[in-house]
Amino acid sequence: MQGGLAINLMHFARALRAAGLPVGPGKLLQAVEAVEAVGIGNRADFYWALHAVFVNRRDQREVFDQAFHVFWRNPDILKRMMGLMLPTIRTEASDRQDPLSRRVADALRGTAPEAEGPEKSEIEVDAAFTVSAQERLQEKDFEKMSAAEMAEAKRMLARIALPVAEVTTRRHRPDPLGPRVDPRATLRRMLRSGGDLADLARRSRRTRPPPLVVLCDISGSMTRYSRMLLHFMHAVSNDRDRVHSFVFGTRLTNITRHLRHKDVDVALDAVSAAVADWSGGTRIGTALHAFNRTWARRVLGQGAVVLLITDGLDRDAGEGLAVEAERLHKSCRRLVWLNPLLRWEGFAPKSSGIRALLPHVDDFRPVHNLNSLAGLADALNRDGPRRAESLRKWLKEAA
């Protein structure tokens, strides 16, 4: 293979890696082989050969496609790199108005050869997040973050795993120290030794996390949080099975299927297209009523844990809220209320919506920064009483 094409392939692979595809040197070697096999006479063959090597999941196709078209538009790599800094690059990518294309463009910018100076500094700014900066970020309120901090927080959010205390199922797995005898395995063991009684094979019950249902408020008062919380919901949905997500403002929308996209940008785009009532008023009672009527039986069937994320500021002044909250509370394993208002020291549960909700939740927690979300993971993971101790204080204050 000519050196030029191999080097270009290397740059392309690095661009893909920067755009978030798992591309290592092994993949690059395969790509070189693949291109040698199909030749470079036909652009479509060339495209699909690289596609076969670099793409191994459906949600990577978009990124690959855009990167390919941006990268191989101009065969002269140096000129192309210069072209990247000119607005012309936007014309090809921006007629689709995709957030992805921005990501791809950023990634391509990072593949510039060493000589390209000015772009490097920008990258270094990104890498300059030291540990202490991270710690500051953990504590920082979502409401007060700059755009760059938001981006970093989103990256950290994507790594949050949300364990929920596992429940035993009726299925078994082999376990030498298990409490039950496994007759089938025991018998096969006996046969191996020609019918003599061997050791008893044992088994224990499997555990699995219960389903999780997230109900998130996206009304005006929650605007600064709802974007971050959607990122959180996306991370959780892609981390485990049986997660159902709903958002509500003046009405309830099921966004479970939209969040299943592995790529967070695609997922959030789908969500914003599906939801009509961003940043409007809140009707918590109506939304919970809709949930109880249409969805509760369908998603709470197997002992689900419910996360209700709202500030409790209700346009209907808590009307009909208590009844619906009680119904919801009685049909799930645990109802955890996450409230961003709790970050203020002087928070008092005085609004009518908050007072209607409080008696019917099992736990009441803040949700305004990364640390509170991490703390939530601990809260959901402990095997304690169903109702949290801290709730007593709040109920006393609300009385």
């Binding site: 199922t169 009726r170 025991t186 046969l191 069937g301 197997q302 009844v323 119904r327």
Partner: protein
Amino acid sequence: MPNTLPASVDDTLDLLRRGNYVADRSLATALYLALKLRRPLFLEGEAGVGKTEIAKVLSATLGRRLLRLQCYEGLDVAAAVYEWNYARQMMEIRLAEASGDRDRDALAADLFSERFLIKRPLLQALEPDPAGAPVLLIDELDRTDEPFEAYLLEILSDFQVSIPEFGTVTAPEPPIVILTSNRTREIHDALKRRCFYHWVDYPNAERERAILAVKAPNADARLAAQVVGVVQSLRGMDLYKAPGVAETLDWAQALVELNQLELEPSVINDTLGTLLKYQDDIARIQGSEAARILAQVKTELAASAAR
């Protein structure tokens, strides 16, 4: 001619009617196609609309055996398909030892023969039957978990079961499979793809009166009309759990037991527990609301009688 499958949609309707089941045409069509094309029929709907009843009626009118598998979370192969009879196998080993027979391979082959196999509903459904393939009812599939659903895929598409120690059991004639679900969770698309789907809805007033006439013949016609009227208007209200057909029948039977010839508000209040199963709903309907509904129903019935 009990044993032949229906030859048309009308035939299917007649067949169900012989079993005292008043079906609407859409359901009969789905059932006819499922029988004709030998596909499982997947029935989804609210509790108490008569999903399970269909399988029972089919087995009775076609003279087939009914095999029922009630699903629950954690249902596994040992409870649904087959299990080895471990106690008997152990005895067999001991007997072989006592008689000094030490041929290991022969013993192993014998131990895992049909004698020691306990057959559960799914395996029984694949066995040849002189009366024709049995009716297999897989009830409330939504209560199982995903692993069991995935296991069903093989059975429902090829009608065969693989038992590692024994071999593959294939049905000579596929059973008539009815799956029901209350939709407490969504069933996976891969499973639905193998079935014909029908959403069993609440019946309209006319069909519900027909059902009452068949199932509760000792109820006075006027009472039956009023009962159906009240139930129909309750379903139109925003209740947490609307009454199903089963509740209608229970209520009619209860009123007959109480020797009622006509509905009164006080009687409705006393017997509401046969109809509504949530305290919130009962509290909403009891008293003035019940009286209002009843008055409305009575005027409507009077108007239609005058026409």
